[in-house]
């Protein structure tokens, strides 16, 4: 009897052992194969995937992409620590990269290719992160509703005459936070607070998650003006030539702040087990070929000195950028968020 019983029991034990093995393999994060990289990306998947695909085609190295919010990914990297499967972090904001660097999440790099391609002000002193592309806060306007000389400065958007006529990004977007930081440094907290207050009133419910939606709303005439990163306007125009939307470079007047600049960038995660492949990817992204993809597909300003921006864009040399070093964005972030919350932006 006991023998008869033990047979199924034995089988069951073996089965459950297999099951447990399977479960363990499934649940514990596994290190990807050698010729594979895991990229955490805080940029829109549409903007980064084509470039990563080009890298895969060129090198045969497969890329697993996790697209999510930049801050969320930095939080995730912190929590995962050395166990993370991420090899690289790509973000839409230099401040987030600097925060990741100061948290010790990124790997310093000593690569001639980087130093030759990207000017010093667009990367960390130890190259733990490297800027890839430049983007500027512009005022997107609908030429059928607004004349470009009606707005000189970003701060003009807080004017009550634009009530219900402007669209702004959501307050958790890193690029809004970075922009507000720059305004704080230039104009001080009190003036920034008034500006944000006006922005909040004027925008009403026109607060968007994505820049593309803001540009879309302007082009449709739902609002007259919007704050967005420049390339969304040009991407919109490339997809729909002749759409009634244009970009206006603000704060260029005598004594003005200059356009607010930020960079997208990349850093290698400190605990990566694929340092060589990861370096290959960074090299690809900063080299002329990679930079040209960003310029052509995404309409961003390449940071490589020898790569030209899309001819449709405003010539980079023709306007001034605000004078706030990118790495400063990291330390400015917390007080900026507090100010944004005090004003109660959505």
């Amino acid at each position: 009897m006991s023998f008869v019983c033990s047979l199924p029991t034995l089988r069951r034990t073996i089965l459950s052992a297999f099951f447990l093995l399977f479960v363990a393999g499934f649940f514990v994060p596994s290190a990807p194969a050698a010729d594979q990289l895991t990229v955490y990306s805080g940029r829109g998947e549409r903007l980064i995937k084509p470039v990563l695909d080009a890298f895969t085609t060129a090198t045969g190295i497969q890329i697993e992409l996790l697209s999510s919010g930049t801050t969320e990914l930095v939080n995730r990297l912190k929590a995962e620590g050395d166990r993370t499967s991420a090899d690289l972090l790509i973000t839409n904001d230099a401040g987030s990269l600097e925060l990741a660097r100061t948290a010790g999440l990124l790997h310093p790099l000593n690569m001639r290719e980087i130093e030759r391609a990207i000017p010093g002000q667009f990367r960390a002193p130890d190259n733990a992160w490297v800027g890839l592309t430049g983007r500027f806060w512009i005022v997107a306007y609908n030429p059928t509703m607004v004349q470009p000389d009606q707005v000189k400065s970003l701060l003009d958007l807080a004017d009550p005459k634009w009530k219900d006529k402007i669209a702004i990004p959501n307050s958790s977007s890193e690029y809004l936070q970075a922009g507000v930081s720059v305004i704080r440094v230039t104009h001080g907290d009190e003036k920034t607070r008034q500006f944000l207050q006006g922005l909040k009133t004027n925008a009403g419910s026109q607060v968007y998650q994505k820049s593309s939606q803001i540009v879309d709303a302007v082009a449709k005439g739902q609002v007259a003006l919007g704050i967005a990163n420049h390339y969304y306007v040009y991407r919109h125009l490339a997809a729909q030539p002749g759409a009634p939307v244009a970009a206006l470079m603000p704060d260029q007047h005598e004594g003005g702040m200059g356009a607010i600049m930020n960079v997208s960038g990349v850093g290698i995660v400190k605990s990566t087990k694929h340092l060589d492949s990861a370096k290959l990817l960074v090299e690809f992204l900063v080299a002329q070929a990679g930079q040209k993809l960003f310029a052509d597909l995404d309409k961003e300003y390449p940071l490589h000195q020898d790569v030209k921006a899309d001819p449709a864009l405003v010539e980079r040399k023709s306007f001034r950028a605000a004078l706030v070093p990118l790495y400063k964005l990291a330390e400015l972030r917390e007080p900026t968020i507090t100010l944004i919350e005090q004003v109660g932006l959505r």
């Binding site: 649940f27 166990r83 998650q209 005090q342």
Partner: protein
Amino acid sequence: MSTIRHQLVSPLQLVTLATAGIILLPLGYVTAQALSADPVVWSRLWATRIPELLSNTVSLAASVAVITLILGVSTAWLVTRVEFPGRRLWEGALVLPLAMPTYVLAYVYSYLLGFGGPVEHLWQLVAGPQARIFSPHSYLGATLVMALATFPFVYLLSRSALLSMNVSFEEVARASGVSRLSTLWRVTLPLMRPSIAAGVALVILYVVSDFGAVSLLRYQTLTYAVFQQMTGRSDNTAASILSLLLVGLALIFLITERWFRQRSRFYQTTGRYRAPQRHQYGWLGTAAVIGYLGLIVGAAFALPASLLIQWSLSPEAQATLDSRFFGFVWNSGILAASAATGGVLIGLPLAYLASRRPTILNLGCLQAAYAGYVLPGPVAALAVLVLFTKLAPVFYGSVLILIVAYVIHFLPAGLQSLEPALQHMSPNLEEVARTLGLGMRATWRRVTLPLVRNGFVVAWVLMFLQTMKELPATLLLRPVGFDTLAIRVWMEASEEYYRLAAPSALLIVLLSLPALALLVSKDWRAA
């Protein structure tokens, strides 16, 4: 004998206790984190966000409750008390909106009602080229979408009430000379009150914890704010504080719902002595009834579904149907299947012990498992995240934490099928089997399991379905390479790439339909 029993029961008891612990721990952690937060953070949130978020959440819940009440009760009354062509068909069609996840409905409506969208064009033909309609990205828009998505809850419960109600009360009223309308008002509706209230409470709970629709319609509620705090801030303190408020709010509604459900049991004991007479209207009345039902089913299901089909057939959408797309399908399937299996395995001992040995401890464990009801997706994600980073960081970034979040979140849905399945089965059957010489294990395998199998299947399917549609927890916890269909819908829809989102959305709806049929057939048997 007693030693055998002892050996068998105590591991089960341990499992139950451990489960209840696992479910309550995350909630406890979030609460602790919120309560130990710097008072400065609390006062900042009170001064800036909380009043707006609370009033937005409560007013949305209130307006949706009113609309679903009207839609749900009126449709239930029509299909049970009026005879018209295709009545049985309409009876089923009114449940179909439950197959539409709120985020799918939200994105379809943000296209339809959007600036320069088709509805506005139609309206401009009537009211002149400058006319505007209300924006879907508003209180009104969120109300409309949530009401269309949730009214079937009220409909189903009201319908059951109308079918099981003793018609003699109404007949007495009519015989005493009370008018038909007055009977409805003074007899029928008061008798239905517990069911209606339970349905509305369910709707409110659903609205309060919804993330998909409010995020796409950019309407700020507590649930959406928790998600934004988690993704936009480097620490989770503010998110925990908002979560605690949200849990409190949901708890109030949950208790209300329970309270009404207890009372409704009392009413449902009165048997129905014969089927109510169905009234037949003239052709005009019949046309009006069908028009009304058609409008509701059309707006909540037929129109969105046909748009999804049309978009899915567009060349851009077809181009996305590559191996990557099937990867998303596979991810959705495997995650949902794991969560459903996990949920059943965990729910079974809980439900079994609570029905067989209803000690305070066992009942308490069962109640703990219902905590998932008051943990909206982002909160469940936050809770599990906090727990794992504190206790078992090795699993961070793995599939396990996502599945734990799903199980915690959806266990109540499963338990609601498991619990009655076990309760309906008389313990005598097991006792007979034992007397006839079957061992504990054999009794389980040959008597208990076959009897509760249907409850199992329903529980599994329900959890599978809910997990497959789940959005916020998946967004926050998914490991690398685990994008699901729901994620794809949300990512494409939030950039207004309506066509690209359509195939994934359509597939979710199609997969939901069989599960819905199962759910409804269960309900119909119960009625």
